[in-house]
């Protein structure tokens, strides 16, 4: 199946990509996407992904379909074909 990952903020600066499409196996989880991103873009590790390669570094988060932020306890949830994940860094201010 295919999922799309959009990069906003720091992850876009690091990857120099706005969006990528990933062909993944059925049952792939959000954590699995983190692992794939860390492998494809090792420079994300330490900047956006924690050194363990499996966890996003706060305040970076996944948002599913622009409607739902993925919580730490949901990182092992499975994805569906066509899902659109946004990797963003949220915090207010200014």
């Amino acid at each position: 199946m295919r999922v799309h990952v959009e990069f906003l903020g720091l992850s876009r600066l690091v990857t120099e990509k706005k969006e990528i499409a990933l062909d993944v196996e059925k049952g792939t989880t959000f954590r699995g996407i983190v692992r794939m991103l860390g492998t494809t873009y090792p420079e994300l590790i330490g900047n956006v992904i924690q050194p363990d390669g499996e966890t996003l570094q706060a305040p970076n988060v996944f948002n599913l379909g622009a409607r739902r932020m993925i919580q730490a306890g949901q990182m092992d949830n499975g994805l569906s074909d066509g899902d659109r994940i946004i990797l963003m860094s949220m915090s207010a201010g200014g």
Binding site: G9, N63, M90, A92
Partner: protein, 628 residues
């Protein structure tokens, strides 16, 4: 007493006299500093029911507990007066060298009473106060005024808080500026202008005593170390402007006066675009190891050379919210505001109201005559030059700028009274303060936080966007948890605004930004500075007390439950596209949210504060006046 001098300086501009007031240590333990202490000084000094632009409205400066110490991001002070935008308490924070100079001069706070007959610059030189003629400074911008004072006094260590032409012209959204930072939002600059106070300068040459320097240094170094790491990376590299694309993607980027939540040109006004095309360097406030301010410059075109620090809240207001997808015009508008000394957010939202009012046919080209365009101009959404011109006209109160200088609440009321229209329906303010860069129609906890906020439409005093945006609750719906959440998040923010510490440091204590992660370390910082014995609960109480004194002042100024409102648009006009389409905060939802919020606060159904509650917080004299 460690960490404090125990002295408040009172300056009477009418009589040109000063006096020193000593405060007991117990008073400091309740009000601490920053916004809370400034609000308390205002409570003690204001002429109840006064016009905000009259001599009875005091200027209250309250320094930060950690100003001048090694504690990172603690170089901040609070400023309070009755707001000429809201007619309730206006409390603001600003950072950097001014607060450090004030601490070294030996003053915990300054209260300025009365009004001067002639333009004046007050120079506090340690314990000596000088009233200096300021007539030659009139018309100078904020940065220029600071430089002129340093040159005049022959000392580059003199630090000044100043107003620009906007404050001189009593523009109700005028700011006070020091060291390139603004005490913004609620119109302090107009209050200063009404007193003919062009600048307050300070030279401090004393040391700062703390109770346990060794522990304070150790704690501070650890925080500085953490502040160089991933917890602040977003702020250091892109700054807050990275929120443009975030908010656009989730359908909440205010666009064309909040008519839309998605802006088709968002990429062109994004932090990522600014980083690549306009960023010159990143700078920091004094005492700050983060350095978040993205100094950005216009390289070419009619606004070439304009340069200032750009933050998200400024940027959304003057760009997407005015339909402007031109970063050059956006930087120019923010530069005009910063130099002129006027609030970028209120300026942008007021301009967007004017653009919509024009597009709906209430205003015509004739209404926009000015020296630059004698035949008038047509301010359609998206017209960057119109935005630039209107920002200048507001600053100078030129033509229609005289109307817009009052902010959206007063301007719409005047137009509607004169022309029989209903422009108030798209006047985006809460209690008269223009709304921030998060469309609250689909952030329902935040909607409550904004409606109930003592300051009006402010994202800094209510942190209730956090649970909504982070997905800790369903942002599209309302449930019984939101009252407690709004209370909890506003009091959390109030702790930072009272010490004050910049909130960008919040993950650097232990890696976790919540109370459990931050309060124990903050207690240690307080104790090492003062010698007190604060613990988690005592730190938590700082926020409740701070919020309570502000609310109490509002009640005394005539606040009622009906004042906790939302803009009409957020309650009756759903967004039509994007990820947040279809939502409003209904009348029923808002009233329910207010009910559960007042209950969570321990207030009455009408939002008033019981006497016993105030007494339990150590505010017996406040209980006497407004307790029920």
């Amino acid at each position: 007493m460690y960490g404090y001098s125990g002295k408040i300086l009172h300056i009477d501009l009418s009589k040109r006299r000063t006096r020193t007031e000593s405060k007991p240590e117990e008073w400091y333990k309740i009000y601490i500093g920053g916004c809370s202490m400034a609000a308390r000084l205002c409570w003690e000094s204001i002429e109840v029911g006064c016009d905000p632009l009259s001599p009875g409205n005091p200027i209250c400066v309250a320094n930060g507990l950690f100003a001048g110490t090694p504690v990172p991001v603690g170089g901040k002070y609070g400023l309070a007066s009755k707001s000429p935008l809201t007619d309730f308490l206006g409390d603001s924070l600003s950072g950097s060298w001014f607060s450090i100079a004030l601490k070294r001069a030996g003053w915990d706070g300054i209260v300025i009473h009365g009004a001067s007959e002639d333009w004046v610059h007050v120079f506090v030189d340690d314990d000596r106060v000088e009233f200096r003629d300021a007539s030659h400074l009139l018309g100078l911008g904020t940065y220029q005024t600071e430089e002129a004072i340093r040159e005049e006094l022959g000392d580059d260590q003199v630090r000044s808080a100043t107003i620009g032409p906007a404050g001189e012209n009593l523009v109700r959204m005028a700011n006070v500026t020091n060291d390139g930072r603004q005490a913004g939002r609620t119109g302090h600059g107009a209050v200063w202008g009404s007193k003919k106070l062009k600048a307050l300068s300070v030279r401090g040459t004393n040391g700062v005593s703390v109770a346990d320097p060794e522990t304070l240094l150790k704690l501070s170094y650890d925080i500085v170390d953490a502040a160089q790491g991933p917890h602040t990376q977003k702020y250091r590299i892109l700054g807050t402007v990275s929120n443009v694309l975030n908010m656009n993607r989730i359908g909440l980027l205010p666009t064309r006066n909040y008519q839309q939540g998605v802006f088709e040109h968002a990429e062109l006004i994004s932090g990522e675009y600014m980083h690549e095309h306009h960023r010159v360097k990143t700078i920091a406030c004094a005492q700050c190891p983060i350095a978040c301010e993205q100094m950005s410059r216009v390289i070419e075109g009619p606004y070439a050379g304009s340069m200032t620090g750009i933050e998200y809240e400024s940027l959304y207001a003057v760009s997407s919210n005015c339909g402007i997808g031109d970063m050059n015009a956006a930087i120019k508008m923010i530069d005009i505001c910063d130099r002129g000394g006027q609030d970028t957010m209120s300026t942008g939202v007021t301009i967007s109201w004017a653009m919509e009012t024009f597009e709906k046919g209430v205003f015509t080209k004739e209404d926009f005559k000015c020296a630059k365009y004698p035949e008038g101009f047509e301010p359609y959404f998206g017209d960057g030059e119109a935005g630039v011109t209107l920002a200048e006209m507001i600053r100078d109160r030129e033509g229609i700028g005289n109307l817009l200088a009052q902010g959206t609440k007063r301007a719409s009321a005047q137009v509607d009274a004169e022309r029989g229209t209903e422009t108030w329906k798209w006047a985006m303010n809460i209690k008269g303060l223009e709304t921030p860069g998060y469309d609250a129609r689909a952030l329902k906890t935040f909607a409550l936080g904004l409606a109930a906020g003592t300051r009006g439409g402010c994202h800094n005093r209510s942190a209730a966007y956090d649970p909504d945006i982070k997905g800790e609750v369903d942002r599209f719906s309302v449930d019984e948890t939101r009252g407690e959440l709004a209370k909890s998040t506003e009091e959390y923010a109030a702790v930072y605004d009272t010490l004050p510490l910049c909130k960008f440091i919040r993950r650097c204590f232990t890696g976790k930004a919540d109370r459990a992660g931050a309060w124990p370390v903050i207690a240690q910082l307080i104790n090492a500075t003062t010698g007190w014995d604060f613990d988690y609960d005592a730190v938590d109480l700082i926020g409740e007390r701070a919020h309570t004194i502000k609310k109490a002042l509002n009640i005394r100024e005539g606040w009622t439950r009906a004042d906790d409102h939302l803009p009409y648009r957020w309650q009756h006009e759903p967004l039509k596209e994007g990820a947040s389409a279809g939502h409003v905060v209904t009348e029923e939802e808002l009233e329910y949210l207010k009910n559960i919020y007042y209950k969570a606060k321990g207030w009455t159904d009408e939002g008033l504060i019981p006497r016993e509650k105030l007494i339990a917080l150590g505010m017996d004299d406040v209980a006497e006046e407004i307790g029920v």
